[in-house]
């Protein structure tokens, strides 16, 4: 336990020193301040007035809809830019541990390689989690105070965003262990995010593709790669109390992360330093 805590604390310390933590914290703060600014100029009242002016039923239901819309926008932001920034910021934390002169000393300690890598992984997830929790809770509190509507469903985005980040981080770890390149790790993770958007159009694509083998390839890619876009969609639906089609994006993405992390651990355990 002492070693685990030390490895996690070390990740935080490095994230602080590289200004990664403070960078993400600063961006989250800017976003919260932006909402505080909206609160000051009474945009919510303006929004309510706008909704009323177009003749819809006035009252709490419309405000609730507007608030849920704002929450949805924030969740979408978290799933795109927020996720990319988190991956970009974290990508260097794995290659830095593998630097010659540093890794030998780590490996000389009575800690298994699996423990070292998982310690870094968990530490990295926690660094990003702190910022996600801070941002989501901050925005939720501001909007709650302003509108009096406390939608706990928005808080689901904390769990789903952290989960999606943890899935992408497993890829960052694999690339880090294989090639020790932060830039390549970011590129691959970003490519997976983009691919998840394309692959999510499965129902359309399966109709458009002419041959069975091409449809099979599409399905294989869809089911085997992480579904960041689908997870975002699920979160959005949950926030807006809409139904969604099962939990398949969650468990297939979790399986993907487990396999990729398992491969990373295996490669790391067999590597010479």
């Amino acid at each position: 336990m002492t070693a685990t805590v030390a490895l996690i604390r070390d990740t935080f310390r490095e994230a602080f020193a590289r200004k990664i933590f403070w960078g993400l914290f600063g961006l989250s703060t800017v976003m919260i301040l932006f909402f505080l600014f909206l609160l000051r100029i009474d945009l919510m009242e303006g929004g309510v007035a706008f909704v009323s002016a177009f003749g819809r039923i006035n009252g709490t239901r419309d405000v609730d809809k507007l608030v849920r819309g704002v929450y949805g926008g924030i969740a979408a932001f978290l799933y795109t830019w927020g996720m990319f920034l988190a991956v970009f910021a974290s990508a260097g934390l794995i290659p830095s541990v593998l630097e010659p002169g540093r890794i030998e000393l780590l490996l000389s300690k009575p800690v298994s390689r699996t423990h070292i890598l998982l310690g870094r992984y968990v530490g990295n997830v926690l660094v990003v989690s702190c910022n996600i929790i801070y941002l989501v809770l901050g925005v939720w509190t501001i909007l709650g105070i302003k509108t009096g509507i406390w939608s706990p469903l928005f808080l689901i985005s904390i769990a789903t965003t952290i989960f999606a980040f943890a899935v992408l981080l497993s890829v960052v770890i694999l690339i880090g262990v294989l090639f020790e390149s932060a830039a390549l790790a970011t590129m691959v993770a970003a490519a997976l995010m983009v691919m998840s958007l394309i692959l999510a159009q499965t129902s359309v694509m399966l109709r458009l593709l002419s041959s069975e083998w091409s449809r099979q390839i599409w399905r294989t890619l869809y089911y085997s790669l992480p579904k960041i876009y689908d997870l975002g969609g699920m979160t959005l639906n949950a926030i807006q109390s809409r139904s969604f089609d099962g939990f398949m994006p969650i468990w297939t993405s979790a399986l993907f992360a487990a396999v990729v992390l398992g491969c990373s651990l295996l490669i790391f355990a067999r590597r010479d330093f």
Binding site: T2, A3, A6, D10, A17, P100, P110, D272, F273
Partner: protein, 307 residues
Amino acid sequence: MASEYAIETSDLAKVYRSRWKRREVRAVDGISLNVPRGTTFGLLGPNGAGKTTFVKMLLSAVRPTRGNALIFGRNAREPEARRPIGYLPENHRFPTYFTGAGMLDFYAALSGMESAERRKRIPEMLELVGLEQWGSVRIGKYSKGMLQRLGLAQALIHSPSMLILDEPTDGVDPVGRMQIREVLTRCEERGVTIFINSHLLAEVELFCREVAILDKGKVALSGKMHDLTAGKGYRLTVGETPEALVEAVRAKATSMASRNGFVDFQFASRQLANEAVDLLRAQRCEIESLAPTTSTLEEVFVRTVAK
């Protein structure tokens, strides 16, 4: 499980292969070595002899191609085997975001030390290596010698039973070197096994009781220091001696040198030295001294590696 050896390796080998396995480099080629507990052991060899790879295999940073290594009787691959080891790598890169105390705290925690114990040991260790004023300073500000001393403190903090030190005095000034030697001497007195990988032969000769010289991945020579450096010959020193007698003794000697009115003769064997003594005493010449001479470790090293 208790073994009389701190390190036991049998047929330990590491072969590096190129990407397409067309070329292979035998970095370590079947090393069998036993390092007794409590000794000070020096590992020597020219560049590329396989010293660092051998040490890395002991620490499981490199996987052996064949053979095995035991640390205090435990397979070196097990993380627990590394618990009694304190290690100082040669080209260490301690993360510069640490302060001296923070760095010691991190590595001590990885060695399994509890928080209260760490809090007690860190100031002691900083004082031991003369860095007590520097504990709260980021190590990015440290000089190379200070980093080396901090690295030694890191290796010692969990009171290990064995120290593995790769060029421990590299970049350290003479005073710092002496401090490090003093620290290591105290460790030796406490029965800590000290395994040094160094290029500084004079230092190894001064400090180590046993040595092994690696060459081309194999053990070219190993043994106790006094055995390896002993047996070179005998030195006879005489005072004023008639010229003819000097020439007669010179004929038996391998070399002769004059200094401050004395003449030194070097003999290859005890018998030749005794014959020279007989000659000199027969002419009532005064003998100043007669003593066996030893090779320096450097001479032994050069002879071994040049073969």
